[in-house]
Amino acid sequence: MTTTEPSTKRSLPIVENFGRRAAVKGAFATLGAGAFVAAISPLRQAAKNSSAAEFMQQHYTELSADQKADVIARLEAETKEQYGADVTIADDRPIPGTKFVYAINLSVCNGNGKCVEACHKENNHDRDTNQSYIRVIEMPKGTMDMEQGSTTYSGAVPKDDKFYLPVQCQQCDEPPCVDVCPVKATWKEEDGIVVVDYNWCIGCRYCEAACPYHARRFNWKKPEVPAEEINPNQSYLSNRVRPVGVVEKCTYCLHRTRRGKLPACLEACPTGARVFGNILDKDSNIRWILENKRVYILKEELGTKPAFFYYFD
């Protein structure tokens, strides 16, 4: 699109007359085109980093079994090549009859941030920025107004006059982020997890604007993780190392939870504030909590219907 001006100028000499003026115009147009090519030469560098196969890759839901295997093999090879780590990328699908729900006990959470760190390590986040899908807000007791909270608290916790509100993706049943995506790069799966196809996302960040929970992160640069720190236990829709320029989010660690395990943030929580389970199972812990505890839903008034609950003892 941007080349229109110089290139069309260049086409001038095909017009009947090769006058001096036309020649001069043609020369300048060629010069302009050349300068343009030189100006966008950094793109060649970028093109080197992405293969034709990646460029042509279809949407996740449209890949056949063979194509998926090829894609995963390619991604594993790329991780080996670019990060020097041997990883296994699985394609974990929802377990039939499950709907994942998370709950956090606000009476117990003391804001120590171990979940934030566990998420960072488990999900192969960029080391430089300490990226994580979880943010913990320190709030004064006696309010639910986040305006009065702070995420940059430090030191010994819990402070006497504060309580702590960890926020991550709420896996909404009416996810605004999914609605706004122009290319269906993000969708809600049968077990309630909102996932992103990192190889389909165009990086417009509309979902980031739409999410009321600050749950989405954009890869402003290529994530840097030392080979020995890479979690090799990966999944296509979850914690594989993300490409630059795409949006990512919490998946309730689907590479763990779809294999029956607990999410990393829950295992890391020393206070036991976190509870995870299948809400369709009548005997599950999470059902008991929702039926017996006082439950709070973050920004319930927005109608996003989160699969994430806060409760109090």
Partner: protein
């Protein structure tokens, strides 16, 4: 709101197109879902992790249920000797080493009234006496309020006498940290016991230091009070 939008748009999109797309979508998912597991299991990239999950799927059918394992203390506590004994020996001894030869003082409630041992101990667990929980008749076990002996391993039974609310929550996974599997048909779950987190003599959960913080670009460096402004917003490096 999206629902309403859906309704409006449903009118806009013509019926045939929607039926067609539904048909296409359905055939797409029919083709996709069942091979989900098989396909990853048979593909060359499927490694142990995926194999595991398909094994778990099989065991699901067999209704194997893994246990919830609550950690237990290894046994009665051992008391570290303060300094060496006259023979120059150090080490730890069982409670009964001393207590079997001493009269229990049922009145004692704090470390302050002790003159020989346990003086430095912090005790902050309400107004209960030592022998509310410790067994005056056998110091290597605990006792319930009704006098029943209970071993140190089963300390949770003792705690639950008073802390029934917490015990109830614990039984439903709503209190205490855990590890392992949420889905017991695929693997066991390990849970902490009371005294993993709560010192029985001073049970309130200890304070912790926040170690890890996301360093967002241009976010101000951690401060206790976000109303107080630092000069530069470019924090790291």
């Amino acid at each position: 709101m999206p629902r309403i939008a859906n309704l409006i748009f449903a009118g806009v999109v013509c019926l045939i197109a929607s039926m067609l797309s539904v048909a296409v979508w359905q055939s797409g998912t029919d083709a996709n879902t069942p091979p989900g597991v098989e396909e990853s299991a048979q593909s060359s990239v499927a490694q142990s992790s995926v194999a595991q999950s398909s094994v778990a799927q099989l065991s699901d059918k067999a209704k194997t249920t893994y246990p919830v394992i609550v950690r237990k203390p290894s046994g009665p506590p051992r008391i570290e000797l303060a300094g060496a004994d006259p023979q120059g020996r150090t080490g730890s001894v069982a409670c009964s080493t001393c207590h079997s030869v001493r009269e229990p003082n049922l009145e004692n409630k704090t470390a302050a009234t002790l003159d020989e041992f346990h003086q430095g101990m912090t005790f902050d667990h309400g107004a209960i006496a030592c022998y509310s929980c410790h067994d005056p008749g056998g110091s290597d076990s605990l006792r319930l309020a009704d006098g029943t002996k209970v071993s140190y391993q089963n300390v949770m039974t003792l705690c639950s006498q008073c802390h029934s609310k917490q015990a109830e929550s614990f039984a439903h996974g709503a209190h205490g940290g855990m590890n392992g599997h949420w889905d017991l048909s695929r693997g066991p779950q390990m849970k902490n016991n009371c005294i993993d987190c709560h010192d029985p003599h001073s049970p309130s959960y200890p304070k912790m230091i926040v170690g890890f913080k996301p360093k967002d670009r241009f976010n101000e460096p951690p401060t206790d009070d976000h109303h107080h402004e630092g000069a530069a917003s470019h924090d790291d490096h």
